[in-house]
Symmetry: D2
Subunit: 315 residues, 4 copies
């Protein structure tokens, strides 16, 4: 096992990565047919507990507005165009309708979305050993977004790493290490537990708002792969971030997205990518607590590798 | 005022419709700039009350699966195609990704969706008197879906009209009258109140499942326009149905979608269209109650006339 | 046989229409398996003859610009958006690329396009008796646009009806009768013959340019159904117009698009819809002749019902 | 000047590339406002000469079928789906329609297309010194595909390099050198001249048909950059290939697509990419000649960086 407290060493060798992968793997834990992964931790009883966290009834979006403009961090803008406008002259008593089309290649840095477990294959297999041939031109036949048809609903916990460090945001390329997550817990007075939807703030969206877009494919703050042990020990149900949870560039030998592999593939943990936490931070500060009822309701895409979503926190 | 108890007369004259429109109108009630309409009834305090309804933690989707197949009731199938598959031969230690595109002209009878208030113009105006010129080729500049960026979350109440009548579904073309809604309340032991998300079941989805698709543009069960008085008196926040709430063909003189005009336009009530209640009915029967925490989180489409959604009930 | 010279009677009964359909039908003429229809008239020898018509080498587009703006005559705007822009700062010696997406639901009044024979079914059958079940959600398995993979290339002949009448355009709803086509021939000194691509000008595009858009689904000038006899006798290979060849509203009992049925379905004549002839008219006037090498090269859509095209005249 | 006969040295230094760029540049040749580039060589007189090459009237497509299947050489499949099918039961005398949508991010290795001059920027400028800021999210405001609204029509000449070498195809990564183009001319009895549409066969499509898809982003046969001198001296109007004219990987220092830069950017020569020549080779062999009337008619995309096309040869 990697000693995550020791040194915050950036680099991870291929062998160390593989050791970590095996250590955190949930394959087989819920049977060989399981496609829900860590969602198994999120029982109805925990949904009920999460609902009891509501105190003010305030609701807060965690989604960015859909971005329709091509840019350095938006290689695939959202398609949005009116499909009915009814702009003819109309007389009294007339009804007319406006309609629009919305579409997205949503796995992209400008769109808030959820990754299904089938979003990533490692060594030719999806989560729980499903063959990567389950990925077909017509969609995924295993580990697809359909396991979340009834929504991802549970206790949300926000760990705010820039707040801990007293900075507005982490700089692109910076790693978050597991001891920092524990420091956030102590500082914020909250403990991540079984079945939680863990949200980790890097300040990505605030940096974007203040400094403008940058090439997130080149540099982005995120979790160091050793955080996977923390996530596995706490038995979280899902993970979200204002980035995509991974640090870019990767410092893991031969693996560009180690956290994607360790969560989606090894642990069966769904990822919420490119959330915005600015409204939520303000509400949490006001309420003096960092836990809340959290929900995301993916579209029911048959065979989908995820979905655009508008996750909501209810305080 | 129309006596809704008297006779269940199908036909409504243009004059009667206009009288009804005026009677239920909320224009000006929350100021001349208001774009939230009946969402104003759904205060944080009511969200909190709704959260307290959760008892089992069971969650249930109210959405149909996205339908990608052209058909008589699906003139605009959902676009869904893989955009990355990575089907090359890969060696050990390799990570690869699958991505997909999803898009929809979602205001259509095969797609579960929400209508923004700007979806319909009447007499050249949107809800609260916004000019219909607010509908531009780039999107709506008033009454758009953005008012729901923090989600539609509140108490859901399901009234099951076929259950009341002892039939599996209402036949296409049948009207629901206001006294039947009251009978449902009595029969089911629930009373619709201020700020509720009212869901009315016609059995549309079950009929579809058992008999197959039909031309819903020609015939569909829904609410008689006189139900608008009931909705206005109860001060509901939003209305949903397994159809689109309107009866087809319309029996209102000169108006094809009277309920759309009366809710979206006059009352400022958002509509959830083409929900499926089959899973929810089973859960409600099991729990012996017809109220629950209900949520829908529209995508953050700037200027959008609505959104595809996956609404969820939490019991 | 209907006497087309007699009376220019607008109305056609259902029985007269069916009689006309039978009279002009080419079903079986080139075998029971034929899917090329009147393209059989357009032999290589005729292509060679058409190429010899070139005298000046001037080329002229017959296409409208692609229209991306929703409007009363454009219910399905062309999708066009950049997919790569490379707008980052770049140093000396750097290469970067711009790319775009273009897509269309092209069978619409604002888009120049060609109709494949499978675009229309009549009495449950496509051209030459192919079953309408050949139309599947994956595309057409018979009479599809693939028969034109090597292009539609031949002698083009333009008959200019407004010029004959001394008006700038025909008013929406006006019929062109067969004797007027013959008058155009005499006036312009050209005779339509076997294998020709016949182009008929109504002035639609000029009216649009001068008066603005109108609801072409309500009113549009075109050919009276009795013109089908003229087309069949002359053995044209294809037909084009600045409208869609049909008059709207139809005056044929029970049939909204009689010319579509008579050409695509009965005769196997492909249609070029919503061409613009303004540049061509100027060139023809200058050259003093109304025949030229004409070409259209549909995209190779497998199972397609047509294609957007940019047809060209070479004088 | 680089001596192209000397050594067939693969590598080109950045300085040699820049020298070559300057040597072949046409900037300013047709005025500072010119956006047509080498199309200026293709005068109406040359179109007329090209039309006189037609002898048999046989027409042959140079386009691949549109490819809707995601694959290693097809990262952006063509969108094709039916938008109207009319699959209801219909009675006698009924007409119904089938329609489809077709769309493409067409600058991709599986789609036959044309590159507009604005497709590539070098050192911050488009062809003829237009600023790269002409590339906007709404489209290109200079050097766009609109200069070809009246079609690309002229003499086509096919040089078949695998035929010269006695091989079925060039292997991925192989360069074609200018002396080989001259050898092709001698062998095939044809001389490339001013205003020609020059087509160069590498056997790409045949290799694909026989061996299946491969990763063309990694390896592909094409022209060595020194061929640009040949192209400039012969004053061709446009260049086409069954690949994209460039060799991959590039052996030019710091420039991935040297031929794109030298043709589109320096010379103002439009490129036809991913043609298929298999049908054309058979026809040319049969006719014993390698010149023909050649045409491509891009869609009229306003501000477009190119277009999907179906180019045709007429023999």
């Amino acid at each position: 096992m990697i000693n995550r407290d020791k040194d915050r060493r950036d680099e991870l060798t291929a062998a160390e990565f593989r050791e970590l992968f095996e250590a955190v793997s949930s394959w087989g834990r819920w049977g060989t047919d399981d496609e829900r992964g860590a969602l198994n931790y999120l029982t109805p009883a925990r949904v009920l507990e999460a609902a009891r966290l509501v105190r003010s009834g305030e609701t807060v979006t965690l989604s960015l507005p859909l971005n329709t403009r091509l840019g350095i961090d938006n290689p695939a803008p959202v398609d949005h165009h009116m499909t009915m406008l009814g702009d003819e002259d109309i007389g009294s008593g007339t009804l007319r309708f406006a309609k629009d089309y919305v579409g997205a290649d949503y796995h992209n840095p400008s769109h808030t979305h959820i990754d299904a477990l089938c979003h990533v294959a490692f060594d030719g297999a999806l989560y729980n050993g499903k063959p990567s041939a389950s990925l077909t031109p017509e969609g995924a036949t295993a580990d697809a977004i359909g396991v979340l048809k009834d929504g991802l609903i549970g206790r949300g916990v926000l760990l705010d790493v820039p707040r801990l460090r007293g900075v507005p945001w982490l700089e692109p390329g910076e790693h978050i290490f597991p001891d920092q997550l524990e420091s956030c817990e102590r500082e914020q007075g909250v403990t991540v537990g079984e079945g939680d939807i863990l949200l980790i703030r890097t300040g990505h969206a605030r940096r974007h708002a203040e400094l403008g877009a940058w090439d997130t494919d080149s540099a982005k703050a995120g979790l160091h792969p050793t955080c996977a042990s923390f996530l596995a020990e706490r038995r979280i149900a899902a993970l979200g971030s204002d980035g995509n949870s991974d640090t870019t560039p990767s410092t893991t030998e031969g693996i560009d997205f180690p956290i994607h592999a360790l969560t989606l593939n090894a642990m069966g943990v769904h990822l919420l990518d490119y959330l915005q936490f600015e409204d939520l931070v303000a509400a949490c500060e006001r309420e003096g607590r960092w836990e809340f009822l959290c929900l995301a309701a993916p579209l029911r895409v048959i065979g989908g590798t995820g979905s655009p979503v508008n996750p909501i926190a209810i305080l």
